[in-house]
């Protein structure tokens, strides 16, 4: 019986797939946040907090680069950790 050999060949492949998926999920939030940071650097006048004098409420409240950063950070800190745990659990169950 060479069933053990088959297991040995498949297990690393599955681990690689899971770790790739985990890496992609982990990168989603930071990528969005990084996009916001780059945007703020390229168009600093979009960040009215840098020059708040004379700005109205909406110009101070809605600052697109900061909103993109906020979404990325929210996703990374609130949604990603549980998702990675569930992905690891699914992987463990599959093994």
């Amino acid at each position: 019986m060479n069933a053990e050999l088959v297991t040995e060949l498949e297990a690393p492949l599955q681990r690689t797939t899971t770790s790739t998926r985990a890496w992609i999920v982990s990168a989603l939030g930071p990528t969005a946040a990084l996009g916001g940071v780059i945007w703020a650097i390229v168009q600093p006048y979009r960040v009215t907090l840098l020059h708040p004098l004379g700005q109205g409420f909406w110009w101070l409240f809605v600052e697109p680069p900061l909103l993109a950063v906020a979404v990325g950070l929210f996703f990374y800190f609130v949604i990603t950790p549980g998702l990675l745990r569930d992905l690891a659990e699914e992987h463990a169950t599959a093994e």
């Binding site: 998926r21 992609i24 909406w58 909103l67 979404v71 996703f75 949604i79 998702l83 569930d86 992905l87």
Partner: protein, 194 residues
């Protein structure tokens, strides 16, 4: 205290960006893992439904013509209907996979509404361009939710569906009330903002 319309576009862009990240994550880990926690299963359909509800105040307060009112009302309805069907499927109250047709229908209606209600040409000014682009993006990318109906496990359909929302979010972030587009602005558009 009413925000300028470009700010409303940016707020919706933020909602669509979060929606896109959730859909991308679901496409990567698979629906089974994504739905392991009940709150997460309801997250993106709930968010889409909330965006649909928020379209009603937009319809009410940004009605500068009848066609704008109809377009905003149509977006509100199809976004709410499509996401309500997804919520029904998640909760198990709806069982047939054909209910997923709500999303491609929503994409088609939204895209058409964008194209119909924008009466200026592509290079009239920035918001005209973004409306045309959003319209065609939604019309063309309606193929992804449609494939999702026929092949619910298709990775390509799930990824395309998510990326469509990324494009929508980025395009909405690019919107300005009055601004140049690729160096063009019609003299009829008014004075460009910052």
């Amino acid at each position: 205290m009413q925000p300028p319309s470009e700010h409303v576009h940016w707020l919706f862009a933020t909602g669509f960006l979060l929606l896109a990240l959730c859909l991308l994550a679901e496409a990567v880990v698979g629906t089974d893992v994504w739905r392991r926690r009940a709150w997460r299963a309801y997250l993106w359909p709930g968010l889409a439904f909330a965006l649909g509800v928020l379209m009603w105040p937009v319809m009410t307060f940004y009605t500068n013509s009848a066609i704008h009112m109809i377009a905003h009302g149509a977006w509100a309805q199809v976004l709410m209907a499509g996401s309500a069907m997804e919520l029904g499927l998640v909760s198990g109250k709806l069982r047939s996979g054909w209910w997923r047709l709500g999303m491609p229908a929503g994409f088609l209606v939204s895209g058409t509404a964008f194209l119909v209600h924008e009466q200026n040409s592509w290079l009239f000014q920035r918001s005209a361009f973004t409306h045309h682009l959003l319209g065609w993006t939604l019309v063309v990318s309606s193929i992804f939710p449609l494939v999702r109906v026929l092949r619910p496990r298709s990775q390509l359909a799930a990824t395309g569906f998510a990326l469509a929302f990324v494009v929508v979010a980025v395009t909405l972030y690019c919107d300005r009330d009055v601004a140049q587009i690729f160096g063009h602005i019609s003299p009829l558009a008014g004075a460009p903002h910052r």
